[in-house]
């Protein structure tokens, strides 16, 4: 018996009752941006994960209609201004991460959050490396602080709890649809 015939054509249950809406997507993205802008202590700044990117990737997986490459571009631009780096640095990194996640989306939706974390981790790390590498190649900076790669690791560790929390807040069922069948 193949799983395809068992899968309902329309979303069922909680997912049908609480679909992602424009307000949920952009409201949560703004909140994530605010988390990034919190006055973090100076010594812990390099450990603070990029919540905006995590939320973006979450919505790329679960609501690609509302959060596409354009959304990633826009929030990347805002992050650039907020961090005071070269315009386009985070923008490019966000777009690249979004591209990978959107291409892998059909695979990623079939995993629960902890298993997703394993596949998202390289993307989160790549983003930090891309920001540092591009900044070095193009910027006027003489040297980059490579400790900032650690924020990618922290983000990967926080992926599962964050995804579950957002699932809970937006009413999306936490488990993948197929596991239910």
């Amino acid at each position: 018996m193949n799983g395809l015939s068992d899968k309902p054509l329309l979303p069922q249950g909680a997912e049908l009752a609480a679909p992602p809406t424009l307000l949920k997507v952009y409201g949560s993205l703004t909140l994530a941006l605010a988390m990034n802008l919190l006055p973090w202590p100076d010594d812990a700044l390099w450990l603070a994960p990029d919540f905006t990117l995590m939320l973006l990737l979450y919505w790329h997986i679960h609501a690609p209609r509302y959060a596409g490459l354009g959304t990633a571009f826009f929030f990347g631009l805002i992050t650039d201004v907020a961090r005071g780096v070269l315009l386009g640095l985070d923008t490019l990194a966000y777009c690249t991460a979004a591209f990978f996640v959107l291409s892998l989306r059909l695979r990623l939706v079939n995993f629960d959050a902890p298993r997703q974390a394993l596949q998202i981790a390289p993307i989160l790390l790549t983003k930090e490396a891309l920001v540092l590498g591009l900044g070095l190649a193009l910027g006027r900076a003489a040297d980059a602080d490579w400790r900032w790669l650690a924020s990618g690791v922290v983000a990967a560790l926080l992926w599962a709890p964050l995804a579950m929390l957002v699932d809970r807040l937006t009413g999306r069922p936490s488990y993948p649809i197929q596991n239910r069948l």
Partner: protein, 273 residues
């Protein structure tokens, strides 16, 4: 009947080109400062809202001081006030005498500066250098390039300005440096940041240069950017050269980098071309 949308990779390619164009334009030209200022102005309410809980906490803890503490600090402040008035009288007499002597010698007056007080909203998350965001911006007349100091010494300079906020790159950031003068003997050197809050260095120092631990370094005003006479750093120790022809000196910045919330933005006394 079927709506065909552009493929993901094509769209990614377009955004990639757009991003690269942004990067190159911003790295080479200043054409994008308007866009940056507009987006920065949009971010300002969010920033202000996020720093307000910390302000409330400070206000509450400031309210809960005892009568004894208040009395004690009042006494201390009165004494300090009297001392400062005495010093101020001394200083104005000296300044008048100095101006007179300068006029006699036919010297040009040093680039004076008018301070604009500002408050630090937050540190900015930039992996390449150390920056802070101030709550004053273009609306208060602040311009990029102006020096910033606190009560103890030089902090850095304004690098980006949006209408309601300004971004200051700290002097302790890696690529920053300032021309300074040793107060003891007038030796002119350049002090550079190392990316640490408590350490700076003087590179390429002459092997026989007269720089000793404890020497105070003040800005020399030679670059036309920082007005002369702002305290910058105190020499901690000097290092004799081993494999290079140059010595180097380690210094401690005098300004409270990452400590205080209130700073002064200095308006240069001259107009930049």
């Amino acid at each position: 009947m079927f709506v065909r949308e552009t493929g993901l990779s094509v769209r990614f390619g377009v955004y990639l080109l757009l991003g690269l164009a942004l990067l190159l334009i911003d790295a080479r030209y200043t054409a994008l400062s308007g866009l940056r200022a507009a987006l920065g102005a949009g971010l300002h309410p969010l920033r202000a809202a996020l720093s307000s809980p910390a302000d409330w906490m400070r206000q509450v803890s400031g309210f809960l001081v005892t009568h004894g503490e208040l009395k004690q600090s009042n006494l201390r402040l009165t004494l300090e006030h009297n001392r400062l008035i005495a010093l101020q009288q001394d200083r104005s007499a000296l300044a008048a005498e100095n101006a007179h002597l300068r006029a006699l010698l036919g010297l040009r007056a040093p680039a004076g500066a008018k301070p604009i007080p500002a408050e630090i909203l937050q540190s900015s998350a930039d992996p390449f250098s150390r920056k802070v965001i101030l709550d004053r911006g273009g609306n208060q007349g602040i311009q990029a390039g102006w020096p910033v100091m606190d009560a103890q010494g030089l902090i850095g300079q304004v690098t980006h300005v949006s209408p309601l906020s300004a971004e200051v790159t700290l002097l302790t950031a890696k690529e920053q440096s300032a021309p300074v003068m040793n107060q003891r003997n007038g030796l002119r050197v350049v002090v550079s940041g190392l990316g640490s809050d408590s350490l700076m260095e003087v590179r390429f120092l002459d092997m026989h240069a007269d720089l000793k631990p404890g020497d105070m370094l003040h800005t020399s005003g030679l670059d036309g950017l920082y007005p002369a006479g702002i305290p910058v750093a105190r020499v901690l120790r000097t290092e004799t050269p081993r494999n290079t022809p140059f010595a180097r000196a380690w210094c401690a910045p005098l300004a409270g980098m990452g400590q205080y919330r209130h700073v002064l933005v200095l308006k240069p006394g001259f107009v930049k071309p």
